[in-house]
């Protein structure tokens, strides 16, 4: 297992966000937990992954996520069981979308 935390600059997500969980910890899959963090201009991501040695790819995937979505103020926690970048990006997008739902 490899664990690390990354803080990304991001546009503010806005107040109307809720905690949500997306995905399942299963081979080739991951779970993404979205919660509210402290700094509205930053998105923190805590990654725990069973695949060692891919930190540079994680950083690239997460940087693209923060660039494409206003994720500022969110605290994201990930349990990963060897998902490909495609699946990671998809789960992040789904979790981001879910975290906006039902908040109004």
């Amino acid at each position: 297992m490899e664990r690390f935390e990354i803080t990304l600059d991001a546009r503010p997500a806005g107040a109307a966000r809720r905690s949500t969980l997306c995905g399942v910890v299963a081979s080739g899959n991951l779970e993404v937990l979205v919660e509210l963090g402290q700094d509205p201009a930053a998105c923190t991501v805590e990654v725990s992954t069973s695949a060692d040695g891919f930190r540079d790819i994680w950083e690239a995937v997460l940087a693209d996520f923060a660039e494409r979505h206003p994720a500022g103020g969110l605290r994201i926690s990930i349990n990963d069981a060897g998902a490909t970048p495609a699946v990671v990006s998809l789960r992040l997008a789904q979790a981001f979308e879910d975290s906006a739902g039902g908040a109004a």
Binding site: M1, L21, V24, V25, E31, S48, T49, S50, N79
Partner: protein, 299 residues
């Protein structure tokens, strides 16, 4: 296009809960944000899940209050570890106190989580005790079995303790899994790679035919919900007092005599007198239930 069917078999535990309960009625206990993860898996440096593979909470179904637990079959095969087990046990103990209309156990599990050995075994027995305590307090417990891991090992026993067992054909119920039987007794006893045979022996249709499952539905989350709603209105009670336990034992003895040396579900359909035994696996559940009920009325 018509509304898309939600496959219960494929749905995650959270998606199953969402499809079963009244919209917006679910409150989760020990939600993922509390991070009650398995200390055993962490010690083994294995991936953990924020909910330890089971979702528990309160909701309403058809307006009636229920407590609900859903195992995530994709996380370690839905296996019961210490935290996972404690969540289910706690839910059942709460049921004994709060007396909801029912407890729904969405079982999807191969049994005890091997990584957690004794803690998992103890958790299973605690679940059984709590389940019977809930029943003794007058709360019926319904098992819903339709996931890829079925209900095996300790969770197979837990399922058989329930008042109602709602299954799809894809769901499976048994004690030892097919691979275990093959490993211990040899491929001649049971070929676990013969998927067709595995489902004909452990699948929901045979379980319904033998009376272990009380309702058989198609692999459709809305069909599981409909069956749960019906069970909330009228349900069977698991044997509890001495007389009913003796009756259940007698029924099992008779079943053994009716189906001696049976190795395949097809033989059971033949013995029961279904018109086309080999056509049974492809029957939709409505038609299957109709044929089975017709037999029951004939007798």
């Amino acid at each position: 296009m018509s509304a898309k069917r939600v496959s219960y078999f494929e749905a995650s535990a959270r998606a199953r809960v969402a499809a079963l309960v009244d919209p917006g009625s679910f409150t989760e206990f020990c939600p993922p944000a509390q991070r009650r993860t398995s200390p055993h898996l962490a010690q083994l440096d294995a991936p953990v899940a924020f909910d330890d593979g089971v979702v528990v909470g309160a909701a309403t179904v058809d307006g009636k209050p229920v407590l609900i637990a859903a195992q995530e079959g994709q996380f370690n095969g839905g296996a019961v570890g210490e935290v996972h087990g404690a969540k289910i046990r706690g839910l059942l103990e709460r049921a004994a106190r709060e007396r909801p209309a029912a407890v729904l156990l969405l079982v999807d599990s191969g049994g005890v989580r091997l990584h957690e050995a004794n803690a998992g075994l103890i958790a299973i027995s605690e679940i059984m005790r709590a389940l019977m305590a809930a029943q003794a307090a007058g709360v019926p417990v319904f098992a819903l079995v339709g996931g890829a891991c079925g209900a095996f090992g300790g969770m197979g026993i837990v399922t058989r303790l329930c008042d109602e067992v709602i299954m799809s054909e894809e769901g499976r119920l048994g004690l030892s899994g097919p691979e275990v039987i093959e490993t211990v007794k040899g491929v001649g006893e049971f070929d676990s790679r013969d998927r067709s045979l595995v489902w004909r022996v452990t699948g929901g249709k045979l379980r319904r035919g033998l009376g272990e499952a009380t309702r058989l539905v198609d692999d459709d989350a809305s069909a599981f919900r409909a069956a749960a709603v019906a069970a909330l209105t009228h349900h069977r009670n698991a044997p509890a007092d001495l007389a009913s336990l003796k009756a259940a034992q007698a029924a099992l003895t008779e079943r053994r005599a009716t189906h001696p040396d049976t190795r395949d579900g097809l033989e059971v359909w033949r013995t029961l007198g279904l018109a086309q035994p080999e056509a049974v696996p492809m029957l939709a559940s409505d038609e299957f239930n109709r044929q089975l009920d017709a037999l029951a009325t004939e007798v």
